[in-house]
Subunit: 703 residues, 2 copies
Amino acid sequence: MCNFALHTSRKSQCFGNGKEGPPSKAPLLLPFLLTVLLVGSQGDGGAMDNGATERIAEESHRQDSAYLLIFIMLLTLTILTIWLFKHRRFRFLHETGLAMIYGLLVGVILRFGIHAPQSMSDVILSCAVNGSPATLLVNVSGRFYEYTLKGEVGQGKGHQVQDDEMLRKVTFDPEVFFNILLPPIIFHAGYSLKRRHFFRNIGSILAYAFIGTVISCFVIGLIMYGFVSFMKVVGQLGGDFYFTDCLFFGAIVSATDPVTVLAIFNELKVDVDLYALLFGESVLNDAVAIVLSSSIVAYQPAGDNSHSFEAMAMLKSFGVFLGVFSGSFALGVVTGVVTFTKLRDFPLLETALFFLMSWSTFLLAEACGFTGVVAVLFCGITQAHYTYNNLSPDSQDRTKQLFELLNFLAENFIFSYMGLTLFSFQSHVFNPLFIVGAFVAVFLGRAANIYPLSFLLNLGRKNKIGYNFQHVMMFAGLRGAMTFALSIRDTATYARQMMFSTTLLIVFFTVWICGGGTTPMLSFMSIPVGVDSDQDNARRSTKHESAWPFRIWYNFDHNYLKPLLTHSGPPLTATLPACCGPLARCLTSPQAYENEGQLHDDDSDFILNDASVSSMYADVTVSTDASGSRTVNPKHSSTARAGGGVGSFDEGLDHELSVAEHEVAIRGTRLVLPMDDPVEAPTTVTLPPPPSPPRSEPHRHRL
Amino acid sequence: MCNFALHTSRKSQCFGNGKEGPPSKAPLLLPFLLTVLLVGSQGDGGAMDNGATERIAEESHRQDSAYLLIFIMLLTLTILTIWLFKHRRFRFLHETGLAMIYGLLVGVILRFGIHAPQSMSDVILSCAVNGSPATLLVNVSGRFYEYTLKGEVGQGKGHQVQDDEMLRKVTFDPEVFFNILLPPIIFHAGYSLKRRHFFRNIGSILAYAFIGTVISCFVIGLIMYGFVSFMKVVGQLGGDFYFTDCLFFGAIVSATDPVTVLAIFNELKVDVDLYALLFGESVLNDAVAIVLSSSIVAYQPAGDNSHSFEAMAMLKSFGVFLGVFSGSFALGVVTGVVTFTKLRDFPLLETALFFLMSWSTFLLAEACGFTGVVAVLFCGITQAHYTYNNLSPDSQDRTKQLFELLNFLAENFIFSYMGLTLFSFQSHVFNPLFIVGAFVAVFLGRAANIYPLSFLLNLGRKNKIGYNFQHVMMFAGLRGAMTFALSIRDTATYARQMMFSTTLLIVFFTVWICGGGTTPMLSFMSIPVGVDSDQDNARRSTKHESAWPFRIWYNFDHNYLKPLLTHSGPPLTATLPACCGPLARCLTSPQAYENEGQLHDDDSDFILNDASVSSMYADVTVSTDASGSRTVNPKHSSTARAGGGVGSFDEGLDHELSVAEHEVAIRGTRLVLPMDDPVEAPTTVTLPPPPSPPRSEPHRHRL
């Protein structure tokens, strides 16, 4: 193929636009929503004749398929190796670490191994437009072709673009991560949250996630600013690096990843509280970090000196943070509650609806200017709490399995892409000083998050967070998908490029070293392992160790929200005061009346499940005998058993139910207010025979 | 925002390219693989300043999210209505018909209801490049921005592009249908084929699908050529319309859709042979039509007169057809067989691997220049036949449910998009004469497919295809997703635009009228309804009614392929001659040796299942007593029960097993060669007690 370039140096006229501003700096912010396009040229050049163009286009299509095939093969290889590892019970390297290694290998091969013949012939138009419009219409001898902006090509690279065509072909649009790969991961995290343990430690988790992340962000930002200032003095800095950049860096590396460590925790059955603390923190701090980073980007003081401190802009940023976070939160919760499906007879429709509603939450949040990922997280938590109870057993399995699969694929893709990108990314800036500084800052930032907060929290907690727990939390602060996605989103400036390269190294280090070292760390810190969470829970009751705000919320939720939004919980007519009777009946859905007889049975099961709370209310009259005539519904139980192979996710969601079962036994003794005597509970557990509620079987957790 | 346009009329210089060919005619063939991009501008104009651009980009991103939300809402609405319809047992309108109606409504609203303020400011560069390169580098005051080709904008529309911005925003890249939405639909069709009935009628199905589709294509093509010639005489034709275009039209409207009618058939339990004939034909003729249409496009006689008949080009086209079809077929079958998963302990990994392998089949075929959709179809059929048996019960459910969901979403999306596109598509050409001609041609083409072929087939079939069956097959030739995807793929020329508009109307008509009229048609034609396929099968044995090529294949498959590729079937050591003993042992996988004891049990079950065949071989010694000590494995059975809610798909896949069960009863009588006496089989069915093989329970089909 011939190589030709056009240079039209003549200035294009501009009609109707008097201003001449600086060119757009933010091509990467353009909304390539849902693009899984391989960035880079589609590879054909100027058309010689019709047939030739078609052949070139076809050839290029084949190439693209081949490149995508590389990724699929990478994932396949990862899966096979994971299987091997699981089969042989290797624990020193998690699947995400593996995926990164494979990605690295492929990156090396692509970079140094293959030298594909360059058939590309880019046309370089030097029309010197003012700014870079998103859409370009090019008049080609009378025909108009539409072009869309893909992004800026590196400075001065205009002429050597062909050299790295292949590497650019395996480079995805950064927005893909945000709009396609992150949402299922985050949703899955929310949907699979062990809610009972999560809510038990909600105060501490919120403290770590909100206060801790902000602390970490500012500590890292300040340390990095110190390093950067030093680098400027030494002359090691090749471009601008402002304080806002440092803060931005602090925000993105403050997002810890829930994947790797927790997979190991799950396998080893580590103490449930430690698990809940770490998981809750890492799930929520993703949300905090993403909103924090966008607030920092939004920090733009008025006037020319756009990187100085200004109180108003700071306040505005803070306002943005609060607004976006609470907006996304509210949206996620509302849509999570709205998906109040009643299509129980048609699991396929139900599952499809559930999936679409979760996705529309994301889109709705984005359309409203909130953060879709955050909305999806809270949507997942809410749906697991309310909607999940309304689904048919079949759909419960289906949705769990679907999101588990999506999460698995997205996660492994992101991590293998991370490995690949170390070699395929074109504008790496590895600055040794900055890297050392970043590692120090990340370490100190994590320490400044965990230790002081733990000390403060321990002042208020009955169930103290021990030093060994704190050390593990400190150690387990891996950086993963969210950090990567945030850092690759914008790599236009020198500062951002340096951040991206450094972030990659941090992710590699933490996933490999900290992830691989988790098992030794746990035994070194003598963390209880192999804890059967059933027994663990029989020992202590949730409510004893919870703070009063949580107790109030729990009661409100159980007595009013759950009955209103799901089929579980006591009927509203029972929990609301007598005067609200008509209202209570009104809020029960028509369909609930339709199959009232059957539902009544279900309801009483759930009342039993949560009996330790409902027993506090004198006006609740639960007439069902706890050890009574309940028989195991074969359909339910078979589904539960079939889902038993699902593993950790399953355990997470059903844990609450099995715990509730123990409380049924407690309920059997008619303890009216067992709350004040934590010692008394264990004695009642021995009461035979514990009934089997339809959806939770005791042996299930040993599957 | 200001609106500005650049007109640089000066000819750009072209270095290194002497030729000046006509501009590319095939921008739509460009490889937008996996793009779910909303075609159309990303909506921001020339940059005024940094902040402004970012704000515009953000605004545009919001808009895109909102537009995508429209589609999600459309699907949600469709699902809710489907639920209502299923709930009330409406059968006159299928879900796909519904999706189209909703799409139409949204299209009307978008077209006539909303007049969004036009904030777009496209830049029109008239640099008059030779051809339309896929990638454009634009030099904007020293910075290089990369632009990619989106496609050609309608003739002379350069200046009024802004008018239809919104409509273009809801227009998807046509390649999306081919590369994202069709594959899951086609794969699902292959994966859910009722294999037993399919193979029983394989000869007739292949005749209808191959010969019939080619006949239909040419009949329609010839009739349309007559109409078009007439239109040219009358002066109704506004552009070129060659004979190859007519043939192309014939090919794309010859693809019948398996969805709508068969959903009704399934629900009504229509005669299994009719079901198999229709389903098999419509699944396979999709593959034939797609390859046929690409062969017609490849028909390019040498010389200038590119639309005359030429024997060599014709032969070449035929060669392309054979090559692409057989290549895709081989690839699909090979990769379908290769996915020989042994990760039974980890259903998640297994499911992920299964999914990725199916997808890589598609990509591999595309990368090799074959047709991905065809490869995926045969991959699905093969996987259902072999790989499915190797999956763990949990993964069997998961894969079925996953592809069922993907199929459901993709299908409803395509049909609702069809409705939308009637109003949102910019270049409709509705020509009344052409439309009338097309309807006549489609009708006659279908008739020329069904009636003569049925007559010929009936000469050879023992189980004749009755006239009522033929009329139903004639009537049930709906056009759907494939026809749409093929016609929207290229709408650059006048002929293609007219085809697209007409095709849309044909799809609407057939889905609404023929789809809705299926139930009355069935009762009018007195087709047996409510046939219990179990009983139906007890009456007759597959092999009696099959032609000899099929019997040979069946035996070969059962004795050699199944044992080689799955855990089922008799061991190779038993079926191969004694001299091949070492080879047979060699071909058994190492893992099969590992858990040999357990597998042996499984194997003998399967030998029993297919005993009617293995009993023909004197050297097979099945020592297990048919009514013996086998107990139902609780894990298997519970999963099977849990999957029972899946509905039609489940029935399809497991049908074979339950049929085999009857043959177990036959086997119990030690009939050595039951093949020659079709009357004797039913008498043996009454023998009590039929054993329960682990994976198939008699009551399952009544769930």
